[in-house]
């Protein structure tokens, strides 16, 4: 009994949605500490009392990824996918920057709020277009959001007339670069949004309904759920969250670069969701997993740069993470471990392989 119990407990641990994500974060941080023993040190800036350190940087960089990852995990739970988040980020950034540039008044809080409001409304609209195409017209989510991904970047370019647009507005800048009680404002906002979304979907039946659509749309309709309205809501939410992410990412430099802002962010979001253990076939989601995934991606981005590798090479490392995670999740690899009748060694065997591969590439 004891071996069986131990086996099942170990299996459960390995199958915990975001277990491997946590392992990878720890491994990456350990790699950084190897290079610089003071990597994890967090100091307090004596002038303004803000926390300073690499970990704070990672946390700050993870904020936009967190936003889109949460939206994406809900969309994926319905059995869909939202490829347009990166483009929506660009549109949201473009709208807010162009609005603030035209409005002037660099100190005005009202202008900043209006810019944010306008950007979020436009993002919600783009999300609604996705939602209508998916829920009411019945297009595949993949193709309708692909169209929005193409068109969205075009819309952002039209809004800014193809130019990189800068604006100055102190309250807006504070959102991305400011600190509150020693922590970056972006991160606090991101956590607040995640907590609110998490509470709403998990403390009400909403989350269950979303998962029900992903498992079987027909059955969920027969059980009395209205899939169309829910799908529309989920895509609008994904759009709005992408809009927030766009504001965060243009706010750091107060410039929108229409071809770079949010570029390939949809892939980061999907990656975060996959790392979080959410199956892309839909039917379940884990907000906690998405958070772990977003943190892992931010850690990976920062680690690659910290190790002195060109940041444009990060995709290769992300690819290795995806492949390893997919392999670990696949039944065939699992059955290999089972056939060898060494289940207790499964985590021990798989862990070093993952790290080893990373080191091989970094070396």
């Amino acid at each position: 009994m004891s071996t069986a119990a131990r086996t099942s407990r170990l299996r459960e641990l390995v199958r915990k949605p975001f277990f491997w994500g946590l392992v990878a974060i720890v491994a990456l941080l350990a790699l950084n500490v190897l290079k610089d023993p003071n990597y994890l040190a967090i100091t307090v800036n004596p002038v303004n009392g803000n926390l300073v350190g690499n970990v704070i940087d990672i946390v700050r960089a993870s904020a936009p990824i967190l936003m889109i990852a949460v939206g994406m995990s809900l969309v994926i739970a319905t059995g869909g996918i939202d490829l347009s988040v990166g483009s929506v980020m660009a549109v949201s950034g473009a709208v807010s920057m162009v609005f603030m540039k035209d409005a002037g008044q660099s100190g005005s809080l009202g202008v900043a709020l209006a810019a944010i409001g306008l950007a979020l409304v436009v993002s919600a609209l783009l999300g609604a277009v996705n939602g209508v195409l998916v829920a009411y017209v019945g297009l595949q989510p993949f193709i309708s959001t692909l169209i929005m991904m193409l068109a969205g970047r075009g819309i952002a370019k039209v809004i800014t007339e193809g130019q990189n647009t800068s604006a100055t507005n102190d309250p807006f800048r504070w959102i991305a670069n400011g600190f509150l009680v020693g922590l970056p404002v972006v991160f606090l906002i991101a956590i607040a949004v995640v907590v609110v979304v998490g509470l709403v979907v998990r403390r009400s039946a909403l989350g269950l309904m979303i998962e029900a659509i992903g498992i079987n749309p027909k059955a969920s309709r027969m059980a009395g759920i209205k899939p169309s309205g829910l799908l529309l809501t989920v895509y609008i939410l994904s759009g709005v969250l992408a809009g927030i992410a766009g504001i965060m990412s243009v706010g750091t430099v107060m410039t929108v670069d229409v071809s770079r802002t949010g570029y390939q962010m949809e892939l980061d979001a999907i990656l975060a969701v996959v790392i979080g253990g959410t199956s892309l076939s839909g039917g379940k989601f884990s907000i906690g997993g998405a958070v772990v995934g977003a943190l892992l991606i931010a850690t990976l981005d920062k680690t690659v740069v910290f190790l002195g590798i060109s940041s444009s090479a990060t995709p290769a490392f992300k690819a290795i993470v995806i492949v390893v995670l997919c392999l670990l999740q696949s039944d065939r690899v699992r059955s290999w471990f089972v056939q060898r009748r060494k289940p207790p060694q499964a985590p021990a065997q798989a862990g070093p392989v993952e790290v080893q591969q990373k080191q091989e590439v970094t070396a």
């Binding site: 019945g138 193709i143 970047r153 075009g154 193809g162 060109s310 990060t314 997919c326 392999l327």
Partner: protein
Amino acid sequence: MTAVQSPRVDAPAQASASSRFTSRVKRVVASNPSVLPTVAAIVIFIAMVVYGEIAYGRIVQYNTLSNLLINNAHLIILAVAMTFVILTGGIDLSVGSVIALSSVAGVMLANAGWNPWVVILVMILIGTVFGVASGILIQYFNVQPFIATLAMMFLGRGLASLLSTQPERLAEDSPIRWLGEQFKVIDGEKVNDVVVTPGVIIALVVVLVAFFVLHRTRTGRTVYAIGGSESSSALMGLAVPRTKVLVYVISGTLSGVAAVVYTSRLGIAQNITGIGWELDAIAAIVIGGTLLTGGYGYVLGSVVGALVLGLMNVLITRDGGIPPEMTTIITGGILLVFVLLQRAVTSKRHT
């Protein structure tokens, strides 16, 4: 499938006898509504040519049309590659970044003094390796095609960036450039010549071979069958696992070929080459009438789709009044119209 496809094959040959042709098209469309998007793509292409000729002039002439082929040869090859994958109900997002890796590696090897034939072979094999990797992940490890090829897309782009982040220029005297050299076939007045490049010929050969394989061989029928219903084709005893890996290998290999054609024409390779080309290829295929769910579609339709996209760029450049940033919006719009058309056609078939 057989009965409906064979008239399509003959259709272009009948173009001269216009009344017989229209009745034939009507019959094909009536018996198999899924060719409607393909017919629509051909109509749109002709309409664009006519509109362009009337509005801007100098469209229906030798050099414009030859340039259309020369500039889109790589896109045609990609569209053919993607058609195989999409017919099985899969998707290959890695084509663009495979081209980036393959061309950067190829140019660097060529400049390092490697034999051009070996370089070309290596460029194509890089694509093959990526195709094999995605195929194995998808078939034997049950990874979704979308996510497996996404990983390959990341990997290709990242490796290309590791090789070089600067534009790599192919030496002016490199023999590989010969593939992009222009040959006059018909000498018209002034610059109005029919010109082809070896790259265009490669693209045409690829199209013909793909057409033959898809419509006249057992492998081709299996590809369609998998798209129709994977479990049924497995129960019928078709070689499903082998074919599923094969389509990704074909797609990867053809991406390598496209990289050779593109690099030889431009002479420059960069780690950001080919960003968004997977979307162009998907758009070309959707415009050409292939269902994204698999099972229905024509490789010649994909070629028409690629030419529609290419011609659209020509028209936008000619017009001059349309800001270039509108291009993606227009592509998106066209894509949307065609997907809706497919949707209307397929829902009619189901009821």
